[in-house]
Amino acid sequence: MDKIPILKLGNILLVTIQIDMHDQLAIALQDDLTARIVSAHAKGVLIDISSLEMVDSFIGRMLGNIAAMSQALGAQTVVVGMRPAVAITIVELGLPMENIQTALNVERGVEKLQRAMEKYEKGTPR
């Protein structure tokens, strides 16, 4: 079965979704990513969806789940690169995106992630 690669850059995990995912692949990514956050001691997750030609409610739910699961494990998530046609479509579809942090591209996503990670570290009592 195909697998979506997860790259580690410092304390950030980078996931670039480059294929149209079937449901099992989306679920596998969710599982792989949560396991990897723990094993890599990651503090941030960046998901690049610039290759995705469509986001339906299933993929939207997966992105929301990843953000929530990462948060539970002490990592922040930012989704980057959403195409304009996809953005228009998910708004009409009614997909709730308020729990998902987004940025225009990978560069801005990394900046946003770093700020979120710093804020989280400061707010966490040791």
Binding site: D20, H22, D23, Q24, E53, M54, V55, D56, S57, F58, G60, R61, R83, A85, V86, I88, T89, I90, E92, L93, G94, L95, P96
Partner: protein, 134 residues
């Protein structure tokens, strides 16, 4: 433009959702729909194909090319012989689901297309027809 033939695709397993999306995308590109129209219709197809599997226990998607009053379009007909929908008005409401999803499939798809028609009979099945005009 050459006349396209209607086709019917089986919707039984989750990989079929992917095939449905790809078929709709290809047809819409061939018909010259805009990128936004393509994205909306492909997303609606994905939602409805998933409903066909999750609630209808599998079925088919038929692609047709209607032409009327000087306009042409693409029409998708999702048919299943599952348990049917007891209360269609309730099923169309955002957030309502008898499954584990977000409950956006039917109501959301309706907003992404130009024409939306649903027929359902308990224990007989459900037919959802969506059309997007050029």
């Amino acid at each position: 433009m050459s006349q396209k033939e209607p086709e019917t695709i089986e919707i039984k397993i989750s990989e079929d959702i992917l095939r449905a999306r790809q078929s709709v995308r290809t047809c819409m590109v061939d018909l010259g729909f805009s990128l936004i129209d393509q994205t909306k219709m492909v997303t609606a197809a994905s939602e409805l194909a998933r409903n066909t599997i999750d609630y209808g226990k599998g079925g088919t998607m038929r692609i047709e090319y209607p032409a009327e009053e000087g306009r042409t379009g693409i029409r998708l007909i999702f048919l299943d012989h599952g348990p049917g929908i007891a209360d269609i008005q309730q099923a169309l409401k955002d957030g309502f689901t008898t499954g584990s999803g977000l409950g956006l499939g039917l109501g959301g798809s309706k907003r992404l297309v130009n024409d939306f028609e649903i027929r359902s009979e308990p224990d007989k099945g459900t037919q959802v027809t969506v059309t997007r005009w050029r």
